[in-house]
């Protein structure tokens, strides 16, 4: 028997509630004291198609899904067709007997058939066919021997807004399906779940953690145009705007969105725009405006596969070099690429501090995998008392003391000019996207142009010293070193755990602070690497390119994935044999 270590997969059409059911089941598992990693996979359509929700459960913290499925909950025949090959021997499929499942296919893989009349139970107990998904969660709990308490509590919470009768009918459906599965299949399934005593934990996604970090940093203005997978950040902040005093603006397009946050940030408000790569491309010119006029803005790019529309709902890390080089000309910017849900929270507030300190755009480069994936986090993992640093911001008292005309873009040793917010009689000034003098007035003088470029670009060097060293994970002295960034970190952690368990010492160097690249810290972290392998979810190995350009270090191998599907530990381990 195998306890508290398995993977569930819910599959169905868009419109069957796969995502909400998967998330509800995941929440029940967390309330049962278990850890998990959950990830949804869906098509860019509202009805039909094939969507699935995968939950890997364990009784320790885990950072990724893997490719082996233990229990498949099939609301459609396609779910079985697509995912049977992922099932491990001894696994099981819960399905409605109305689906034409070929039991011999299951038997050929030693997979058990757990036929449960989901639809009949839904209709008889709940009165609505849609509740088949609730029945599936009840049946799943029954098959695995998990108590029904946590599932009932989630049903109560999730359906409360829809009223008591809906709560009660869903409860009846869950109980009936649970009872059916227990009566018929108890003991047949060797993968068991058992609730554990644990402190309360949050089930939270990267997008939600990032938005929470931004809110705690005092982000007060958010403008955005919906684009998957960045829009949940806009929606989250809009949903909390009234209670927490945030102005959110669904703008007419991404160009408007970034220019709105530039206007807001110029006035002194912490402002953010969330988007994905295509929206970011539209923002490129304005990114340079913020760089030129030294306006602190935060832009979040939640990546999806490109180019162009690419795969709207899928996974890739193809925008790294674009973030670093986007827009005409040269100007300082900060790029943070979180690789975990905790790091999404951290990036959410650090970006504001860095943007204001260096008076330049700060970009958070997340991706669809982080955006959607769920993990169970202890409450104290996200410390809401985040540090706030507004940089060289002049107070009214400072401005009262001014004896000379205020210079918005004054030359200083750090290149950072003390910032006055418009509205004070002692600091009436202009700023211009044209090259300008220290006062902000348009100026075409050649010598001044050099001074201004030097001033702005010097901020990048000052910022570089502050950028954090890479995160290191694994066997400290290992000479097999994986270089990675972003969401590839999670699956890579799982792969490195396997390697270390198998006696192949390995470690990870993950760079979150990708720009300005902390060259010395990265070089130090890579000391002792005899085999350096980059793991990236893109075609060309963009971090490896950056590493070589700025440190001269060349990777020995490159594990890359660009099929739009999530990175997995199995994929990394299989490719490792080919690249080294």
């Amino acid at each position: 028997m195998n306890l508290n270590d398995m993977t569930f997969k819910f599959g169905g059409e868009a419109g069957q509630g796969v995502e909400s059911t998967g998330r509800g089941f995941a929440k029940a598992l967390v309330r049962s004291g278990l850890h998990l990693f959950g990830l949804q996979d869906y098509h860019s359509r509202i009805r039909g198609g094939h969507n699935f929700y995968q939950i890997r459960v364990a009784d320790r913290d885990i950072y990724s899904q893997d490719e082996r499925v233990h229990l498949l909950l099939a609301l459609t025949q396609v779910t079985v067709d697509e995912h049977l090959r992922e099932m491990i021997p001894g696994g099981g499929v819960i399905y409605d007997p109305s689906l034409p499942i070929d039991q011999s296919d299951l038997a050929a893989r030693s997979v058990q058939a757990f036929s449960v009349p989901l639809e009949q139970i839904a209709l008889e107990q709940g009165g609505n066919r849609v509740m088949s998904n609730t029945a599936a969660t009840g049946a799943a709990a029954g098959v695995c021997g998990l108590g029904l308490d946590a599932i009932e509590s989630v049903i109560r919470d999730n359906f409360r807004k829809k009223g008591g009768p809906i709560v009660e009918s869903n409860l009846r459906v869950a109980r009936a399906a649970y009872q059916y599965a227990q009566d018929k299949y108890t003991g047949a399934f060797h993968f068991r779940l058992q609730a554990k005593a644990a402190p309360p934990r949050m089930l939270i996604s990267g997008n939600e953690a990032l938005a929470m970090g931004a809110l705690m940093a005092g982000c007060k203005f958010v403008a955005g145009y919906p684009m998957t997978p960045g829009s949940p950040i806009l929606e989250w902040l809009a949903g909390h705007s009234k209670e927490f005093g945030i102005v959110t603006k669904h703008a007419e397009d991404e160009i408007a969105a970034i220019n709105m946050i530039i206007g807001a940030a110029q006035m002194g408000v912490r402002a953010l725009t969330p988007t994905s790569g295509g929206g970011f491309a539209l923002m490129a010119e304005a990114l340079g405006l913020a760089g030129m006029t030294e306006v602190p803005i935060v832009v979040v790019n939640v990546q999806r596969p490109g180019p162009s529309t690419g795969h709207a709902t899928r996974y890739e890390q193809g925008d790294l070099l674009f973030m670093i080089y986007a827009s005409q000309g040269e100007f300082p910017r900060v790029v943070l690429a979180p690789g975990s849900i905790e790091q999404c929270f951290e990036a959410g507030y650090r970006a504001f501090n860095l943007a204001e300190k260096y008076q330049c755009p700060a970009i958070i480069l997340s991706d669809a995998s982080l955006a959607h994936s769920l993990r169970a986090l202890d409450l104290d993992v996200l410390d809401l008392n985040v540090p706030l640093d507004r940089g060289a911001l002049l107070t009214d008292e400072d401005l009262e003391q001014l004896t000379e005309r205020y210079k918005r873009h004054a030359f200083t040793p750090s290149g950072i000019s003390p910032r006055a917010l418009p509205g004070h009689p002692k600091a009436v000034y202009v700023s211009s996207s044209d090259e300008h003098d220290e006062y902000g007035q348009i100026c075409e003088d050649a010598a001044l142009r050099v001074q201004m470029m030097d001033k702005r670009m010097h901020k990048l060097e000052v910022a570089r010293a502050e950028m954090q060293a890479p995160l290191q994970y694994g066997a400290q002295e290992a000479s097999l070193v994986f270089l990675t960034w972003g969401a590839a970190l999670g699956p890579l952690r799982s792969a490195v755990d396997v390697l270390n368990e198998q006696g192949t010492p390995a470690r990870i160097v993950q760079i979150m602070d990708v720009w300005p690249l902390p060259v010395d810290k990265v070089t130090a972290a890579l000391q002792g690497a005899k085999q350096l392998v980059a793991v990236e979810q893109n075609y060309s190995g963009q971090l490896a390119t950056l590493l070589r350009a700025y440190t001269g270090i060349k990777v020995d191998g490159l594990i890359r994935k660009y099929d739009g599907r999530p990175m997995s530990p199995e994929f990394i381990l299989a490719r490792l044999k080919e690249v080294v």
Partner: protein, 290 residues
């Protein structure tokens, strides 16, 4: 007491001698001082183009942004600090061409911005190409056989989109234009001030001599009611021997966008602290995920 001199700057304009921008610039300074706004209480926002250089020549808070993005920047600025009077100055290419989507959206948004569009019906700073408001048949370097498109009608569009202050000024009549901008400054929501402005270098067609005898003030027309949207829409179509200037349409009964945003009820956003609640009041954010 605020005076026009408070808005003077040591920086001299680079506009051509006779440029209509001088009239607009002077009228704006008169209007701002007449309504009693000091330079630090005003935020001038422009884009790129000859007219968009106006903030560089004026003592007031100013931000010269990108071509076409004036209204988007101004929207963010206004929502961040509605304690300041936000005034945009940009040309017809900036406002109606590159920024057309922002124009359409800002009118509907009815946000408290005074939008002065320096409409010379040609591209000046890029040296004489046809603009969205150039007439059909207008011959320029990019329309050598004459422009094929119908000209953009900003007033009709603004009225159609429920604009709450739709007006046209004329840079050759500074007193009238100063009055018009003054009324726009007193308006609650978005105020469009489209200003007919000769480009003495690149638009020989719409000269002072051509425009001056044609413009007339709608407010002087007996019986003209600027609260009548149908009459205003008809008036917005008038172009030729007679060209109406003044306030074509105005209503003060529609709240400005910023009046309806809950977070702004507590005052200007920029004046609110980064964290408005006690530390424990944020812990509920985590509880959503239990």
């Amino acid at each position: 007491m605020v005076s026009v001199k408070d808005y003077q700057s040591a920086v001299r304009p680079t506009w051509c001698v006779g440029c209509g921008n001088f009239g607009i610039w002077n009228a704006l300074k008169i209007a701002l001082s007449d309504v009693g706004l000091a330079p630090h209480q005003v935020m001038l926002i422009s884009g790129i183009g000859c007219g968009s250089k106006l903030p560089d020549y004026t003592t007031a808070n100013g931000y010269m942004s990108l071509h076409g993005r004036t209204l988007a920047v101004a929207t963010g600025a206004r929502l961040a600090n509605h304690g300041l009077k936000v005034v945009c100055t940009h040309g017809d290419g900036d406002g109606y061409g590159e920024g057309g989507n922002h124009f359409a959206s800002t009118v509907r948004r009815n946000i408290g911005i005074v939008d002065i569009v320096q409409n010379n019906r040609v591209y000046g700073l890029t040296k004489g190409q046809y603009s969205p408001t150039s007439p059909k048949g207008f011959v320029t370097k990019t329309s050598p056989q004459g422009a094929i498109e119908e000209p953009f009608n900003p007033l009709a569009v603004a009225i159609a989109e429920k604009g709450t202050f739709v007006s046209r000024g004329w840079s050759g009549d500074i007193a009238h234009l100063a009055w018009l901008i003054g009324e726009a400054l007193k308006h609650r929501g978005y105020a469009l001030v489209d200003v007919l402005q000769p480009c003495v270098t690149f638009n020989k067609m719409y000269s002072y001599d051509w425009l001056r005898p044609r413009v007339y003030k709608v407010q002087d027309e007996p019986g003209y009611d600027s609260g009548d949207v149908t009459a205003a829409f008809v008036k917005a179509q008038e172009w030729g021997d007679r060209i109406p200037i003044g306030i074509l349409y105005r209503t003060e009964s529609v709240p400005a966008y910023e009046e309806l945003v809950p977070a702004l009820a507590a005052g200007a956003l920029v004046k609110q602290p980064l964290r408005t609640k006690a530390a424990q009041d944020y812990e509920i954010l985590k509880k959503e995920y239990l």
